[in-house]
Amino acid sequence: MNYAWNWGVLFQSPYLGWLGQGIAMTLAVSVAAWVIALSLGTLIGVFHSGASGVVRLATGSYINLFRNVPLLLQMFLWFFVVPELLPKAAGIWLKRELPHPEVVTAIVALGLFTASRVAVQVAAGIAAVSRGQSMAARASGLSTIQAYRFVLLPQAFRIVIPPMTSEFLTIFKNSSIALTIGVYELTAQTQQIQSFTYQGFEAFTAATVVYMTIALMVTTLMTVIERKVSIPGRTARG
């Protein structure tokens, strides 16, 4: 292999700064999108598990639609197509006035996409809580909302911590797709370092190490949370 390694390039100005900005952007986009995904996904999951008829059709359609179109295309749809379909004034506002339109769009697109995946997990978690729990909640006089709030969701969330961990990890990886609409997150910055310096492998190695570190930290954090909140005698792990 004929390649002149030069790890020093990573610590030179401005490349070190680019890496730092990339990491910050990846973390910001992912965490902001996760807030949307977790709240909206929980809401959709609850309605999907409890409702029937029109509501279930609506939640089912949301899940189906957002899971079956590539995230890259979803980003393009939100970024290029939606401003064209809105009333003129709103479209122009989105394109011209909104600060950092590409970052906001990426967060929204990634959040709505991941919400469909979170919804599936939450619905599965609620289904896994034994039926007696829901009956007992109603029998002791709790309203439907109270039953979900105090009995079903606290148990369902514990059950789905492992698959939820994997969705949380995936959102950091998926945030790299934001580079296609011009967000300078970690992968985009390393690609930029490659085209400026031709020292691509050093930059890609740095990005790989950062993504692995994020994965390790998230996994450790979630294991700690799982252990903290586990109900004695009733764990998800077989």
Binding site: N2, N68, F80, V81, S176, T180, T187, Q194, F204, A207
Partner: protein, 220 residues
């Protein structure tokens, strides 16, 4: 913008069909290659060879920790360098996809192999089979039925992921739609059409996975 112009899509159909062909071809090769590689990795991880099993685990967890786009970039620059000559984006991408999918498929296969009851392993060993014979003749046939729905689901994810070759300008379905959208200045039509095609194909795949999984439940 003025109305939804369907003629742009009709004119572009040959180009889009060619793109879809590449997307489907890439999916098929990555799936077959990924399954083969995944099977080897899963068998190594469950074997008695500690060091090899550890290396296989590192491989799987390494690939699963990084975004596919980064893997595509890695191989796009690495493959020509290793071979000492330019090979074109397609080959680099194919290798990247097979290596990446191998990690994901190995997890599905490993879970499938582990789901077969220990008595089956013991019986196979007791009847004098080697580890590989036990896998091939006893455990894998049973595990395959459990894995089939997950494999199809992963295939649907993979098909969607092939759109990421956009970053190295390979003309798959997504990239072709994007090219027509920009040259004809018909962004809305092309992206909405592309979304509908992906939606239809992936929904069909999802339905197949569901049917496989309910068939399995009935068989038990």
């Amino acid at each position: 913008m003025s109305g939804f112009d369907i003629s742009v899509i009709l004119d572009a159909l040959p180009l889009l069909a060619k793109g879809l062909g590449l997307s489907l071809g890439l999916t098929a090769i990555a799936m077959i290659g990924g399954l083969a590689l995944g099977l080897v990795i899963a068998i190594v991880r469950l074997s008695r060879f500690r060091v090899l099993a550890l290396l296989a685990a590192l491989y799987v967890n390494g690939f699963r920790a990084v975004p596919l786009i980064l893997v595509i970039f890695w191989f796009y620059f690495l493959v020509p360098l290793l071979l000492g000559r330019p090979v074109g984006a397609l080959y680099s991408v194919l290798i990247a996809f097979v290596m990446f999918e191998g990690a994901y498929y190995s997890e599905i296969i490993r879970a499938g192999l582990k789901s077969v009851r220990p008595g089956q392993w013991q019986a196979a060993q007791a009847s004098g089979m080697t580890y590989l014979q036990a896998v091939r003749l006893v455990v894998l046939p049973q595990a395959l039925r459990k894995m089939a729905p997950l494999m199809v689901t992963q295939g649907v994810v993979l098909f969607q992921d092939t759109s990421l070759v956009y970053v190295v300008s390979l003309h798959d379905f997504m990239t072709s739609a994007s090219i027509v959208a920009n040259t004809q200045n018909r962004i809305v039509e092309l992206y909405v059409f592309a979304a509908l095609v992906y939606l239809a194909l992936c929904t069909a795949g999802g339905t197949l996975a569901q049917r496989l999984s309910s068939d399995r439940q009935r068989a038990h």
